[in-house]
Amino acid sequence: MSALAQRGTMVLEDGAGLDFGALRTARRDRVFDAMGEYGIDVLMLSRGGNARYVVGHRPIWRSVVTPWAPMCTVVRSTRQIHLMAATWDDGIPTDISHENLSQLMWNPRKIFGSISKIPGLADAECIGVDGMSPSMPAALEMFAPKGRLVDAERFMRGLRAVKLAAEIDCIRMAISMTEGALAAIRNDLRPGVTEWEVKGCFHEEMCRFGVNHPAMEGTFCATPRGEDRRSEGSPPVRLLPDGRTLRARDLVAVAASVPYAGYEGAVARTWPCTGPTGRSSDAQHALYARWKAAHDAVVERCRPGVALVELQRAWTTTGEPLPPVPLAHGVGLGVEPPVVGGAGAIAPSDEELRVGMVLGVQGYVWENGVGGYLGAETVLVTDDAAQRLTRLSHDPLSAR
């Protein structure tokens, strides 16, 4: 294993550290090069991860999905980036000029007026969009009469899938903070504490890193010990914390994500709620061992050239039923495709893994009367075996 693989929070201290200017330039070069290659004149992006990939800005974060709008417009002929709802330059890279910022507006007429003034849009023949709201096509037809719309989500997904070295360092930092905050709350899992309280403690620990929001609110849940009416053959799971009180012998699944510069990883662990003197049970240790065997089988297949469908096969070959959570998904500037398995996800395509992809690999096993084990690791696909980026142990259940 290389020295690089052993860095956690020391990632910024070792090596070159993180040069965000260089990272932004590298990402943008990729985007402009690919726009040229695919003949896309203008990109209009609404999705946070896509916009952040091109811009490298720090927008105020919301946890809701709102209708598509061209928040970020990228013009190939001028190599300019134009931002909507950008009232000030706080958090916006200095290489984006003030003329390209358009303030927060509510009046559709004014919003359209501002879009129509973007230099180069009127002449665009091919416009890539990463979504569309029902009222927008008519307006775009007016501003870019020659413009043919194409799917830019697929385009951006292709660019984002393979990570630059600095992106991997950002993911490592995100994971380190997530693991730090998780480790800090492990002793809070005592009988009598509510799941809500555990969730609250996690968020407080997260903020100690100077971070202001999570990438997801997370799971802090006692796993069910009995069947559930909605599980229908799938292992019963709980992912939404509520006001219930943790009891001794509960297996508590924790999954969380703290972002760094917009990047995130995937971390999940399951801890027994034992109280100060309690011990974990043999059955709980056996459950962890089952999870590990199935999970390792999937990670073993995380190699270049392996089809996504193979990951699902690797899990089921161990005899475990498919878990009610995705078995694997891309991570980077948020969760990204590919998504393999999970409740209702369509069968994975024959898409193949490539060197430089970063995946959250996740699994869940369950035993009647015992509970469930949820675990997730983040791995980097390399030329050789997958490199694990997560570092937190699975103790106490792995300590045998």
Binding site: W68, T87, D89, W106, N107, W196, G218, P337
Partner: protein, 399 residues
């Protein structure tokens, strides 16, 4: 009739919302709704989700399908445990994944399975993924895809007593969490520490989720001391940093959190240390403006009355931020599109008439260069003969 009650019946609330959607669909001749955006899916189904960065939500999303004349909505979800208990089993479906062409083909097949027995000519959609936009119209032809946003905005505007009670609880929890942050406020503390205290109390008290990166912003004394802005107005709300609070610094807050999907939008002003007499005067003027504005809110009054009264009380200068508004509607997931004093202009405000069941946030701002300013948000419900002030946060140390 909007009653004042602390009772809450979530199943009744979902039933009432479904009935309202059915009425809107009938009146507008829409045969079915296909909903993808968070607030609309919550409204139609009441389904919960692990709230997250929207990158995650795009991959693992709840989608609603509502058929005209049907007794319940259909929910497609990766998280069946988030579905309301009363949702019939045959209305709860595995997730759709309209992120690829194959995913949209699968979506079209499964939508047709549900639509099968119904005569559906028009399907109203509130948003498209790119593969949906390019693929769905031909896959569902001859069904015509139309816009759903206007219908949903209209349905969501008037709240039932259960919806109002959710908002009341949402606001109460948010105020209590905001108060936990204020209790640790002092020079030397980081702004992100305030967020930590806020989150901890918020979730301990059972807030369903958080919607916005919580804002705790140290205000510059002068606008020019802040970042460059497009409009030269007070730069708010910026992303919260780990800035260390100094003595006498003025802090503005803005937090949006959920109870059963219903948003609260608490905004307060604090001073770290002893406030100056100028800041006290800014507060007093803010309070006068706010009282005067709230006194005008009753059924039949138009929005421009509020902007006029507020401006008069502020000596002829509009007391709100140029990029925001004096007041706005509130509902699921955050502010709703009814804004008074926004860039939509006077005509819009004149046409906006208050009606019982509306939830309105009032957020005047007073500012004096060299001394920063005062901004708080108050929530009122429009009642049959006036309005009810729902927010209760004290303006320490002045009250």
């Amino acid at each position: 009739m909007v009653e004042r009650t602390r009772e809450l019946d979530l199943a009744r609330m979902r039933r009432d919302r479904h009935a309202r959607l059915q009425r809107e669909m009938r009146e507008r001749g829409v045969d079915a709704l296909l909903l993808l955006t968070s607030g609309n899916v919550m409204y139609a189904t009441g389904a919960r989700h692990v709230m997250a960065d929207n990158g995650r939500t795009y991959q693992l999303r709840n989608i609603a399908l509502v058929l005209s004349g049907a007794p319940a909505p259909h929910l497609f979800t990766p998280l069946p445990e988030g579905a309301p208990v009363e949702l019939p089993a045959d209305h709860l479906h595995p997730a759709l994944w309209p992120e690829t062409d194959e995913g949209v083909e699968d979506m079209a097949r499964r939508l047709k399975d549900v639509l099968g027995g119904f005569d559906v000519r028009s399907l109203a959609v509130d948003d498209f993924t790119a593969p949906m936009y390019f693929g769905l119209p031909s896959l569902l032809a001859p069904v015509e895809l139309v816009e759903a946003g206007t219908l949903l905005t209209h349905a969501r505007l008037h709240k039932t007593t259960d919806e109002l009670e959710c908002m009341r609880r949402s606001w109460e929890i948010n105020e209590a969490a905001t108060s936990a942050a204020e209790q640790i406020l002092r020079p030397g503390v980081r702004l992100t520490d305030l967020s930590g205290a806020f989150f901890r109390r918020l979730f301990e008290l059972g807030a369903t989720s958080n919607f916005l990166d919580p804002v705790f912003q140290a205000m510059p004394d002068r606008i020019a001391d802040g970042p460059w802005s497009t409009n030269g107005d007070v730069p708010f709300n910026l992303v919260t940093t780990d800035h260390i609070i100094s003595d006498r610094e003025v802090i503005w807050t803005d937090t949006v959190t959920s109870y059963e999907g219903y948003a609260s939008d608490v905004g307060r002003t604090w001073v770290a240390g002893r406030p100056s007499t100028t800041v006290r005067r800014l507060y007093e003027t803010w309070q006068e403006i706010t009282d005067a504005v709230i006194a005008e809110i009753k059924p039949g009054v138009s929005g421009d009355v509020l902007t006029r009264v507020a401006t008069e009380r502020n000596g002829g200068k509009k007391p709100w931020l140029d990029h925001f508004f004096l007041a706005h509607g509130l509902g699921l997931e955050g502010g709703e599109p009814q804004q008074i004093g926004s860039d939509r202009g006077q005509e819009y405000d004149e046409q906006f008439i208050f009606e019982p069941g509306m939830a309105i946030v009032v957020e005047p701002v007073t500012w004096k260069e060299g001394h920063a300013g005062w901004r708080c948000e108050e929530l009122v419900f429009v009642t049959d003969d006036g309005c009810e002030l729902v927010s209760h946060y004290p303006n320490e140390p002045f009250q």
